[in-house]
């Protein structure tokens, strides 16, 4: 009996949380077009999120390219399909692996950072102080951060994809003697706009959900400093789950368009 009540409560909490997150997103769309526009803060956030995540994304992308090629190579050699390596790696990285893994890395780095920063500002009354000073804290803190993540994530994904292909090309060059020019020629011949555009479009949505969840968790942080840790932690978990959900929806919708 108690267990069933707990499950009911958990479902209720989940639905309430989902509704509040949706309302928070709705408020973002209302506020984003409302002056005053915090352009300087937006640029600062783009720098913070884009530039400071770049090294992490590049290193991760390079290792993904290396590992994917090293792991796949023996199997392709076994079937005499070694020459398909650039096509396979290019399509898998650009369509799926690049955007999803880079979004997950950003969920870990950016969503937790935003959750902790805004959470700490909430519990130390800095957000209240902003409101009392006549500045709309939602506009200043939330809108700028969500816009910055939405804009920066596709750029990070593009850089990450390129460096992953570079890593793969390096392995092919060292192990198979394939030149970099030939490798990238084969990759770009294998790719079409149908691979690139849906992946880029879904990266915008990944960026949006990462910013939205980070801001929501931080902005509604409660219960003192323990709440800040919880906000950062749940921001990562929720943002990562939403990245997979958005990815599923994106693949599902793209599939319908290709069918048509």
């Amino acid at each position: 009996m108690n267990q069933s009540r707990t499950i009911t409560d958990q479902i209720k909490d989940f639905l309430v949380e989902t509704g509040q997150l949706a309302a928070f997103g709705g408020r973002f769309f209302r506020e984003v077009f409302r002056a005053p526009y915090e352009f300087r803060e937006f640029v600062r956030q783009c720098y913070q999120m884009g530039n400071r995540s770049l090294v992490l994304v590049l290193v991760t992308g390079f290792i993904i390219g290396l590992v994917l090629t090293l792991q796949t190579r023996p199997t392709l050699i076994e079937f005499g399909a070694e020459s398909w390596m650039p096509d396979m790696v290019g399509i898998s990285i650009v369509r799926e692996i690049g955007p999803v893994i880079i979004a997950l890395i950003c969920a870990g780095r950016i969503a937790s950072g935003i959750g902790a920063e805004l959470g700490s500002m909430r519990v130390t009354e800095q957000i209240d102080a902003m409101e009392v000073s006549g500045t709309n804290p939602f506009n200043y803190l939330v809108v700028t951060r969500i816009l910055a993540t939405t804009l920066m994530l596709p750029l990070l994904v593009i850089f990450g994809d390129l460096i992953a292909l570079g890593g793969s090309a390096l392995v092919e060059n060292l192990k198979g003697g394939m030149s970099f020019t030939l490798y990238f020629n084969k990759v770009f011949n294998a790719l079409s706009f149908g691979d690139f555009i849906p992946a880029t479009v879904k990266s915008f949505f990944f960026g949006f959900v990462i910013g939205l969840v980070g801001c929501y968790k931080g902005y509604h942080c409660k219960k003192g400093t323990a709440g800040v840790g919880k906000a950062a932690n749940t921001a990562v978990v929720t943002a990562s789950l939403l990245v997979f959900f958005v990815d599923f929806m994106a693949v599902f919708i793209a599939d319908i368009f290709y069918e048509l």
Binding site: E117, E125, V132, S133, T135
Partner: protein, 260 residues
Amino acid sequence: MKPKAAHTEVISPSGQRKEVIRIRDLKKSFGENHVLRGFDLTLYEGENLVVMGKSGSGKSVMIKCLVGLMEGDEGSVEVLGQPISSLDQHDLDQLRSDIGFLFQGSALYDSMTVRENLEFPMRRHREKLGHVKDTLPLVMEALENVGLAHTLDLMPAELSGGMKRRVALARTLILQPKLILYDEPTSGLDPITSKEIIELMREIQHKYGTSSLIITHDVDCARVISERILLLVDGVNYAEGSYRELSGSTDPKIEVFFKK
């Protein structure tokens, strides 16, 4: 000094002074927790009124209702002649520019320098300051008032607790408010720093002629700065009078506040 019943009309000490804050029958609950149960308060122009009460007695909730950070469930709150609950966001922001709020934990913005902290409230209220282009002289004047002109380019993390409180006080002064609300201005400070802050509050009051509402547990602060003290017990006014009147009371509920 006899305890004053709740809902009793407060008469101006001079019979002439203008009301700056007028709270009538304010009620606020959080679920089953009835924090304010019909609280009344009047602050007159140029007056220093201290509100004392135990933790959880509703002091901070009351002060947040005064600046629109919270809304009461019932009752009326008027600040500088304007009813808070019926103001739209623009009018509320304009009113807030006439109210300085010193938060309990200082609430300085961690990511900004001292200068940026002081400039922040000016962003939305340039017209009040005559559309000044160079804000540095105003920032320097506010910092000189609190004796911290040398901290201009420091980050809040580089300041001691007492310095943070003084910078926060400078930030409340930057818009030249008519009314200053102090939420536990000496909490967490050592006795010497507390005395410095209390002295600073007195100097500011004399220099600018502001009205002040001070929430505190600190008996020394109440003794030095108050013209009138209001005791809040269980969410209602319990007693009101000068420090001399209340500290001489034999009522156990009043005595407990003034025991050393």
